[in-house]
């Protein structure tokens, strides 16, 4: 059985959709990012409770012409990238305010 990955928006960022673009500012380095359409969908759906597989199936595959396998691979890589920039949190467990990944941010 394959592992499930969960993603949640980091509480250490500020974000606003301006026009058609999602601008995100991370506290880490006070850095500004502009999310592309796929990253915007992933970021908006990152509620900590929905596995990334489901986000890909229901939100990304329906929007772009891409196979589920390819979309999942790309989405996982993208989530990892966003996590490295402090924008998303990733865990193999659902992410709640008391999750270890959230606790780590508070330390």
């Amino acid at each position: 059985m394959s592992r499930k990955l969960y993603v949640a928006r980091s509480p250490r960022i500020a974000a606003r959709k301006l026009g058609e673009e999602m601008l995100v500012m991370a506290a880490q380095g006070s850095t500004l990012f502009t999310l592309n359409p796929t990253a915007t969908i992933l970021w908006q759906a990152a509620d900590g409770a929905t596995p990334i597989e489901e986000i890909v199936e229901h939100r990304i595959c329906s929007e772009f012409e891409v196979t589920p396998e390819e979309a999942l691979r790309d989405a996982e890589a993208l989530a990892q990238d966003l996590a490295e920039h402090g924008i998303l949190l990733i865990s193999e467990e659902p992410i709640t305010p008391k999750s270890p990944v959230q606790e780590q941010l508070r330390q």
Partner: protein
């Protein structure tokens, strides 16, 4: 037997930028003179300030000369350091202690950092931009080094009051109805202090040098991106980053933002009224 006591003289001056008065205390009268000369026009007649900076002059270096300023937050206090200074700022007591070399550049850096922290909470920011008042309205000219901030400042006609050629002070008005630009002593290549006055902001121009003078609208996402790219902010504190981000988003919805491409001659000011 009476105790021996060393009498140390204390000297103070109050520097007010954006109406926020900072009293700087030192034991060195020559340093005080240097500050009063450096910030002339921004030295207030007040005896007290909203904030107190206690300066100790030292000859040490605190970091490698090429390193940028670092700002950290710990136990309710802010710590900032560069090669030429080390400072601790306590927002609760509104006091800072500064160890620095005897020059005004270090004080400039501390003032800028403290103002960014204070402004962030007040719905404002320092912006890498020139600014000027004409007909009672303030205009901001933002851009990276080389975009034309100094050039447009130098070309300003006599009826224009220059607020700064380098770093603008922007804050929501007391009534919360719009944004106001204040003069600053933070100078760029022009090396001329701004006038210590203020006016409501009528427009922000994103500068570009070109073959003709023209003003164009800017897409909303570009407005946000380019404004934020020019906001001075040093702290990695999530709450303050959130506030600055929200203020910038509010600003671009309230203040018209244009791209100003200009030929570097005085005619550009015919379009700015």
């Amino acid at each position: 037997m009476p105790e021996l006591a060393l009498q140390v003289e204390h000297y103070s001056t109050v520097i007010a930028v954006g109406g926020v008065a900072v009293r700087v205390n030192t034991t060195d009268s020559r340093f005080l003179e240097l500050l009063e000369k450096r910030y002339s026009g921004f030295v207030s007649a007040k005896q007290t300030g909203e904030f107190e900076f206690d300066v100790e002059l030292v000859e040490s270096t605190f970091a490698k000369p090429w390193t940028e300023v670092s700002v950290g937050h710990h136990s309710g206090r802010w710590f900032m350091q560069r090669a030429d200074f080390r400072a601790e700022w306590n927002p609760a007591t509104r006091t800072a202690t500064i160890q620095q070399n005897a020059n005004a550049y270090s004080m400039d850096a501390v003032l800028r950092i403290v103002h960014t922290l204070v402004l962030a909470k007040q719905g404002g920011f320092l912006l890498h931009s020139a600014s000027a008042i004409r007909n009672g309205k303030a205009f901001l000219f933002a851009g990276v080094s080389g975009a034309g901030k100094t050039t447009i400042s130098r070309l300003a006609p006599a009826d224009v009051t220059l607020l700064t050629d380098e770093i603008s002070y922007v804050r929501l008005s007391d009534e919360g109805e719009g944004y106001v630009a204040f003069g600053t002593p933070f100078t760029g290549e022009l090396a001329k202090l701004g006038e210590n006055t203020s006016a409501p902001i009528a427009a922000l121009y994103l500068l570009a040098k070109g073959q003709e003078n023209r003003i164009e609208p800017v897409a909303v996402a570009d407005r946000g991106r380019e404004l934020l790219a020019n906001v001075l902010f040093f702290a990695e504190d999530p709450e303050l980053v959130h506030r600055v981000f929200q203020t910038a988003c509010d600003f671009i919805h309230r203040v018209p933002v244009y791209r100003l491409t200009f030929v570097p001659d005085a005619r550009v000011w015919e379009m700015i009224r």
